[in-house]
Symmetry: C2
């Protein structure tokens, strides 16, 4: 059987031997594959970039969800932009939320997830608290009259259909629909391999949000060392990401997890020197 080779990073290419290819098609927005890998189970690939795999999706989905959800004192309304595989939605719905709106631009990804990635989306799309909108996330945050406690931007990299989610206008609109204690989280790739993209994203975010702190995860199939996630809010949330504060928050609504725990939550904000430098210095806020 053939391999799948990811070519995201020039100079470091990762090859995954496959058992079989389950799906390969062009959607309206991107090329999409679902492949069954030898080591990581089923893998979703968009525009030849690994989006998620059955074996290690828990790392990314838990950190993208539980870090904002436990930093926020009482998140009830959650907006997910992107996230077509359903992994973030699944983790969000484990919290006592009232409403989780997911705005995914490419309905074909959701269809593929429901058919091939049930181990990732589970029954999330059937949950009565979940509301799926197939549409443009940037337009949604511009136009909606609703407000949200937590916004999770689970998009692909700043190429193709995700481009409008990386501009200052998107951040301004997102800030408008977030409550005073609202939090927005996104992914900004590998600090080592995509340093300029991380630096630009943090700089843009700091032009809109009062508090921007980057946290880290280590996802086996997102190669290149630490993976980065900026967390943004209109008020200073740094006191809510200490180990003691997170533990209190977690103990009020505990969950069984495979990667996340309160100590990891707090520790994830400790940035190695070279990553801190990319983010404009460790724990420094401009504005």
């Amino acid at each position: 059987m053939a391999d799948f080779t990811e070519k995201l990073h020039a100079g470091m290419r990762t090859k995954y031997p496959l058992r079989r290819r389950l799906l390969a098609r062009k959607t309206r927005f991107q090329s999409m594959q679902v492949v069954d890998t030898v080591r990581f189970g089923r893998m979703l690939v968009l525009d030849d970039i690994v989006e998620t795999t059955e074996a290690d999706e828990f790392v990314y989905h838990e950190m993208m969800t539980h870090v904002p959800m436990y930093t926020h004192p009482n998140p009830k309304r959650v907006l997910i932009i992107g996230g077509g595989d359903g992994g973030v939605l699944r983790e969000v719905l484990r919290h006592p939320v009232e409403r989780a709106v997911m705005v995914e631009i490419d309905g074909a990804v959701v269809d593929a997830a429901k058919k091939y990635l049930r181990k990732i989306c589970g029954r999330a799309f059937k949950d009565p608290r979940a509301e799926l909108v197939i549409g443009d996330g940037a337009a949604y945050v511009r136009d909606t009259a609703d407000s949200f406690d937590v916004v999770i931007v689970d998009s692909t990299d700043p190429l193709g259909p995700s481009m409008p989610l990386f501009g200052k206008e998107f951040y301004r609109n997102a800030a408008r629909i977030m409550g005073r204690q609202g939090l927005l989280v996104r992914q900004t790739g590998s600090a080592f391999m995509q340093g300029p993209e991380l630096a630009a994203a943090v700089k843009h975010a700091r032009q809109v949000f009062d508090c921007v702190e980057v946290f880290l995860s280590a996802v086996p199939t997102y190669v290149g060392g630490h993976f980065t996630h900026p967390l943004m809010g209109m008020t200073d949330f740094t006191k809510r990401i200490t180990a003691a504060a997170v533990r209190r928050s977690f103990e009020r609504r505990p969950l069984k997890t495979r990667y996340y725990n309160p100590e990891v939550h707090a520790a994830a904000f400790a940035l190695p020197e070279y990553i801190g430098a990319l983010c404009g210095g460790p724990r420094r806020r401009t504005k």
Copy 2:
């Protein structure tokens, strides 16, 4: 020009495009290559496994060195087992040590480092405090009458020439030559890809040492998510790895670093749930 493909992990192979191959030979102990990669500069490859690269060596070498060096209250005598590329020796010598003994089994690796990896070893081998022994590290710790504050086992994986460094006998001999506050550190690979090896190493270490705590790093060319390092001592050092304690230690003898800092030092011991489970539960000590 050809690529170099690492085949350490079945199911996930990493391919590095090369500018040129500088050296390829069999030594008495292993196959050795030095290649010039497009993205990571020069790379040392032993038995077809990436050992270190110019671009990201600082992550591993700083964490392997500074975590034990700043956890120990006053490290003066350091023993390095392996470490032929000279990166750990270079970092050790930045501390005010009296003596750094390095016991490398394969003199050909040291020769290659001096010739091709000057960006990694620097002038470390010429430092008057450094003492290079070409010989068997396991035999050295068994036979030496000297004692050491910090022992850094910078070996290849438990295959080939490194096998004797992974047994209980090695740990018993190492414990004998370490002072009461002595610390030993090693690497145990990727938690995700080499979980059973990590679990076995921690179990064996706990049969000899009173205190074994695993810390993490994220090294771009050590693929597979978090890389793991058990730190071992005969006395409980957990109070010395808190952020406040490490910061005090660091401020007494500060260094300019690219990855390590006191916050990262403390945070590196926060283990994701699946890694904690491999280590017999988070922060649990047996014996």
